[in-house]
Subunit: 268 residues, 4 copies
């Protein structure tokens, strides 16, 4: 028998089939972030035991992102069906040992590798259908990155529209919001094959680091946001009560691993 | 009974359901064009009776396009699942009454409205899965619009890869190719409900006009192209023998109607 | 130049690329039909000039269908991505020269060939995402074709849920409803390339014939139906006021051409 | 803070968002199984350390399955987009402590919940586009479950056709093959967030049990199989050298948990 190779499954003699190549993973894309306040209890109920409520605990960020990503070498960029994906995610905040941390509560992507990559990082990813308007330089079929530029953004899953937003640029700003600005503290969790009554096989609190961050101007503006309900979702418990701000930015970054913060051996 | 309204079907009392709004239609997007020569007989066999072979008759353009489009008012841009689509098309040339004309021989898109819009314009559109690398301004997950920037582009339909290309920018140029540069002369054709033995119900040669064209620099470079076979396709008869050139350009334009050039009443 | 061949576009020297093969087209599938009454004015406003209101003019049938289809020879059946498709359609009734006729008011399918085939037949097809529960013979993950068997059916387009229904078998019956039981009288319509102010290039009233019909027992039962709204749809004007009946049936049939009933040369 | 609930992620105060409901999970569907022999070394190289080669070590089963599945209560069956999925998987064999076991080497599904359910069970699932011909009772657009009935089956991922097969029924049989007939022994594996050099966070050998199995007649017949290559796959190393048999069967079953066989704490 050969030693099985591959960053994740399927693991084989060569490792080439793995749905994920090993890190680092490089990202370039465009982010639309809408920050708002909801009922703080709806955020606090989503925090694991290890996290205390943050100051301003009801603050939420909802982020649309239109990405290209690749591994070192960039082979995926020449077969772009393997490089391009979109995602939408809700970020909340908590406090870990006195420091504010960010945490993804809900997230949808549109490619399998991005889904598993998220599971590896503790993002609770599902599949969705995601769209956001792209800025253009020519013609009438898109906004310019300047005041008055208008963008739309939508999320659907299982043939239901889940969220939609619009954003109109009013100017630029120096800060792109505070909810998604801390280190991410995520839970990696998998129940035992014996079922939910057995202690989980994987239960960790992890954090991760992003390096080589580059970014363009931060455009700020007015936003509208609608969340819809679904029989298999409850993100709409995070109903907006007050808009904090909205931002559009082009970014580049590299994922460079992380740190296991806590490992749990009891029932999850 | 009400008068039925709507630019095309379904036609209703209000016209709001039509799969297409009336023109004008605005487009903003990015085009990757690869021009090459094939066996001239393979082009000439695709020309309708009304067209003579062009000079340099074996010249073909294969174009990938990543679009946003909208009707007047731009409502689609705020619900971008209705505005964004991609297409791939083969353009050949002919001569009509002594003037060179361009003609789309094969084309795939990924949205229904774009498909019917093409049928209205005489484009023989099918559905496909289409991807092309996007240039980025930040990070390692995409090319820059500058020498050395590398792009990939792919087409699939019915779960088969049909074409793939790569493009590497070497510089800029003043001309973006000559195959897709003339007025489009397309055939609109629909057989009678009685079947293929009856005279067709629709058989026209049409041309169309594009206005308000805006465009960025023309990037030129090296390209590679592979065409694959499929049991339901024959575009691969247009096999590349010699590369002419390859171009990348951001463009904007508006479709503003067209002209019926010839109408046929005989069997098609 | 070769003579261009192909039942429809793209037309080529061989005809092999045509998105549709020539008829006959064979169909095998499962139909869930829900008949109900709406405000009769909402049906009458959808009738073209040539049709008078039917008796019981507010009757509507909403049909989900899960098909395999093929051309003569059946090659598509061995590459089932080309044979399987689903559709949902609203059928209304009118009267033509004193005879009741059926007419498809709205319809969605999930494959391109089925969409163009519909356009050829005068069905105003758009793309949608369509699902209906399948009966099973074994296990707990599906209904049996017997009293108590429960089915769900859904339609979405452009990332919005448009309709959903449930159906519970109570028994069998001899008649499967009266709305979708007459000859189909459809309009084939395409505006001129010059735009909506010019006379349309194609404007016909057609009917068609189905042969070699085979079918299984007609299961009848209780149904629930919900229609949702969309910015690009108005089928929800056909709001249900009263359920007439609901039926499930396995069928097979062959499309064998049709007849052009009226041809219009004036503005559409 | 609330206790976080949910069988898997996202875990919330109510648990309703979990991409998977807790087991049991019920399945009803149709399976096409093709058994063949490949080079035994290509199978043996896929076995983890805990498994020894089986007798007849080169035997492989490639299975297409068209499923409905649901949790207890069956709510998914009334919203069938959440119940219907398809999968294709390669099964190999090994020996664990002297007993033959089955093991899934590669697998693709077309829904996110099925993908995560597989990861929970140790199936190395990716997303794919999967089709298999369905038998029909009426009409010309499908095979009957009787000698002469012909089926096709295909798999694609990332816009490439990966596998295709055809199957023609010759009769019925008492046994449906031996490769996929033992208990499944799967590896559950997730690297640490620190990366591939750290000990994996999850590394288990598990087995699972299926209960309440019901099934119809086993149809046997002739098959043809083609495997294609992809830059991100290596299943085609399991190239067929000799066909063993091919089978079609309708089945129902329930997943009722499993057993952790071995847990590893060293590097994976």
């Amino acid at each position: 028998m050969a030693e099985l190779e591959g960053f994740v499954f399927p693991r084989t003699a060569t490792g080439r089939s793995s749905i994920l190549p090993p890190p680092p993973w490089h990202y370039s894309g465009e982010l639309l972030t809408i920050e708002y306040r909801t009922d703080p209890d709806r955020v606090i109920e989503l925090l694991p035991d290890a996290l205390e409520p943050a100051e301003d605990p009801g603050a939420v960020a909802l982020v649309w992102a239109d990405w290209q990503s690749c591994s070192d070498g960039g082979a995926e960029l020449l077969d772009p069906v393997r490089a391009q994906y979109k995602e939408v995610f809700f970020v909340i905040r908590g406090s870990y040992r006195g420091e504010h941390v960010s945490r993804c509560a809900y997230i949808w992507v549109d490619k399998d590798y991005a889904m598993v990559r998220g599971h590896y990082q503790g993002y609770p990813k599902k599949l969705g259908s995601i769209h956001q308007t792209r800025p253009v330089a020519f013609g009438k079929a898109g906004p310019r990155l300047e005041p008055g530029g208008r963008f739309g953004a939508t999320l659907a899953a299982y043939d239901r529209r889940l969220a939609q937003a619009s954003f109109t640029i009013t100017g630029t700003t120096d800060t792109g919001g505070f909810v998604n600005s801390h280190g991410m503290y995520h839970t990696r969790f998998l129940p035992a094959i014996e079922g939910p009554e057995a202690p989980p096989s994987l239960h960790e609190l992890v954090t991760m680091k992003t390096v080589d961050v580059e970014a363009g101007p931060i455009y700020t503006g007015d936003a509208e946001l609608e969340l819809f309900s679904s029989p298999t979702e409850e993100f709409d418990r995070l109903a907006p009560k007050e808009l904090i701000g909205a931002y559009y930015r082009q970014v580049g970054a590299t994922f460079a691993g992380g740190t296991t913060v806590e490992t749990y051996h009891d029932r999850g």
